[in-house]
Symmetry: C2
């Protein structure tokens, strides 16, 4: 027994001025300042847990306020009793009737639950001196199931089915762990095609991404179909030309075999960020058929499982698949998307659902449905976290990374103590025993970008900003 | 042109100590203090708009904080331009990309949108010197459609279909208005069967409700099946006995004809407040079959349209229907419930979805699907508001109130300037030209029950409360 208790916590409204550089713009989300509603949970020892959820600026203060209310409930709890049953801890977090009324399990209160839950998983991994992915992959199937939230999902998967699924993968875990450490986890880049970028910038970034080893590219669409078609054809003209490939290129044979891949093995996807109604989505995607997208991401409202099923059915003859999940607000949304066979690609987010306990549910349900998991990433801190999730999926759940790709956006990693690292277009597996869930930010970054009193935002308020150059922000 | 602008607003965290009396307890929601996150929107004239959303206590402050953020966006707007196109105003409210990220259109940020939207509808009705129901029923079909939010719903209903549906009802509107004013709108009572009540109290309240003219009763279930069966049989034994009927009883012939009605024409429903998984709901309701419930309300997670469809199919042979909606967070959730034929009774709430614009969408979709609308009510202020919604449904949309019943709970009405009024178990139609959306609270009530600084809560903090008697709260 550690004797450690949760003594207190601090909440930080951290906002990075990504709006200055035009990064992160899409058909729905203009003027984004990538932000973290960030929590540090303290104990009566040196042990701490860092957690966060992600927003795009204004409103981050509402989430921070909600985190304070949720975190109050765990002060005084013993960490041994929490860590002994993380499933029960999650049930505790989501079961306060008065807070539950504000969701239930959706929106601001669930984002706050995610931040607190993530902090405790970070703490548990650090306490066990393992990266989070390793902590969970070392669970027995029984421990894994106990850490998973099955509530409201037993009509699709029972704990017994989950146990059988995990036991069937148990034998190959060691080999897969070695494989992913050796090869890294496959990634795709969204950095080439934000809506705010000029054609010239898209061209330059596509060449740069090829040189970095990427074979899979995503384009933001939805403002104008003909414009999107032109930009898509621009990217395709570069990524389909063997002359543009780097000399030492290592292409995954599975990518080349993909029917959506071009002659060089490169794959393109498109992302509409929920701008369409269902009939509109279908019509718009017919226009984009010539650029052969692997999938359309977020074609309509993220809650609409029935709508996604309609879209998927209509686009199937065109060879275009459907992906969603970054705004799917809880496991019940994913359950329905899977029950209705409404999507091909399950895009979990590390902060939108209520933490690892709910993510494990979604990984298990996706595996049962035979759907691949490609987490939503980017933003701030998301790559750091989702890297753990994809590795867990590969080693312990699906056992496969043939077609999976984890989103990568080259933003803001310099603010993290354990930033992600990329090699040949793949994520390097984090191995530091003190990295936890990799969510810890440098105190200097928190201090500088705390809104509205950090040095950066004070300078803005005083008329001395925003100037990205002066503040160590990368320019693309 | 009025020349009026929105100048400022005030937000009030008003909490009534219903926990003292044990009212409002169910299988999910214990210890409820019925609360209003309440907003007053001011103009540069005497005109004001009152709006609110409902919570059950702790967390009300988070919603109030969010209302402040949403309401900031409308300061300075001209009321003429808002009232000229309430549909466009709603799109403005839900389209701030940074606030949208916190939902989208769900949870705290959508509850805040509801409060602000409700306040503007209240203001518009007062400006036109009509109760809200009358304002909307006097709309032309074109004005009605323009005030409705169709976004993400056009795969189920288009504006053109809605227009045709409304035009078909246009001719009978005047007669129906006269009818509902003459007869009132049918109601049911939930006051008899909260989970916290003793059998003796249930017995007494059932007799009292019969004497008040009620024929339709709801029982809270979900803690223990055998206990619920006993309580249900207790209520049935009273309401099925002709000897217990009041002498001057007027029973609606349609109620008597209902196959779920007992020999006296009385109907019983049950409400589980989301406590079950799907398979559990089905098994539990088999136990309750002997009490012949008309419907089971909220059998499982409110987001789970697929789950409700499974439950409905399984319970159909037992003659038990399915109802949900008080926690259905937006029109897309209702759309799916209707597309999957997952429910029989559509239970809209006046504060959970984002205001009248979204409620009109749901009324139109329910009419298209041929499902009846029985709003969720009770809480604080909900009866006052939903009364308008049911009347709109009857006069302008469905044209029917044969089987509809609007929930009634006899709580906290004394705090409202235009409280609901009941006669012979039916809602009296509000006719005061200054009642707006009937949501205005007495300043004294707001002041006394503001949390934590109002007189009541200060007394509690000083150890002099909670004593319901001393504070004018009704005891049942």
């Amino acid at each position: 027994m550690s004797g450690l208790k949760i003594t207190d916590f601090s909440v930080h409204d951290v906002r990075y001025p990504t709006n200055v550089t035009g990064d992160g713009t899409d058909a729905m989300n203009k003027e984004c300042d990538y932000s973290a509603a960030y929590v540090v949970v303290n104990t009566n020892g040196d042990l701490k847990g860092q957690g966060m959820t992600f927003t795009i600026g204004r409103g981050n203060e509402i989430v921070c306020f909600a985190i304070t209310e949720v975190a109050k409930r765990i002060v005084g709890m013993e960490i041994d009793s929490i860590f002994a049953d993380m499933g029960a801890f999650f049930n505790f977090l989501i079961s306060d009737p008065q807070h539950r009324w504000l969701g239930p399990e959706k929106g601001v209160i669930h984002l706050a639950t995610a931040a607190v839950s993530n902090a405790l998983w970070d703490m548990m991994a650090k306490y066990n001196k393992k990266p989070l992915w390793k902590l969970i992959c070392d669970f027995t199937p029984e421990e894994f199931v106990r850490s998973t939230c099955f509530r409201y999902c037993t009509d699709f998967i029972t704990p017994e089915e989950a146990l059988a699924l995990l036991k069937a993968k148990e034998g190959g875990k060691k080999a897969r762990e070695e494989e992913v450490i050796r090869r890294g986890y496959p990634a795709y880049t969204t950095s080439v095609g934000w809506l705010g970028y000029s054609d010239e910038k898209v061209r330059r970034l596509t060449h740069e991404s090829l040189a970095q080893g990427f074979n899979v590219f995503k384009l933001k669409v939805g403002a104008d179909a003909q414009d999107d078609l032109r930009r898509g054809q621009l990217i395709r003209s570069i990524i389909d030309d063997p002359a543009n490939m780097p000399k030492d290129r290592k292409v995954d044979p599975a990518t080349v075999a993909d029917k959506n891949a071009g002659p060089t093995g490169c794959v393109l996807m498109v992302d509409a960020n929920q701008v369409w109604d269902v009939p509109q989505a279908i019509e718009y995607m017919k226009v984009l058929e010539p650029i052969k997208p692997w999938f359309i991401e977020e074609p309509t409202a993220p809650d609409d499982a029935v709508g996604h099923a309609t879209i998927r059915k209509a686009l199937k003859p065109l060879g275009i698949q459907v992906a969603t999940g970054e705004h799917a607000h809880n496991r019940m949304t994913f359950k329905q998307l899977l029950q209705l066979d409404a999507i091909d690609v399950v895009q979990i987010d590390s902060c939108r659902t209520g933490g690892i306990q709910e993510i494990l549910t979604v990984l298990l349900m996706a595996a049962k449905a035979g759907k691949i998991v490609c987490p939503h990433s980017g933003g701030v801190g998301l790559c750091e976290m989702t890297c753990h999730l994809s590795i867990i999926d590969f080693i312990a759940v699906s056992g496969d990374m043939t077609r999976n790709v984890l989103e990568f956006v080259d933003h803001l990693h310099e603010n993290f103590v354990h930033p992600v690292s990329m090699k040949d277009g793949r994520y390097v597996v984090p191995l530091e025993e003190d990295c936890g869930y990799s969510v810890e930010m440098f105190p200097e970054s928190i201090a500088r970008f705390t809104f509205p009193d950090g040095a950066y935002w004070k300078a803005v308020a005083e008329g001395n900003g925003p100037v990205a150059d002066h503040l160590g922000l990368k320019k693309h």
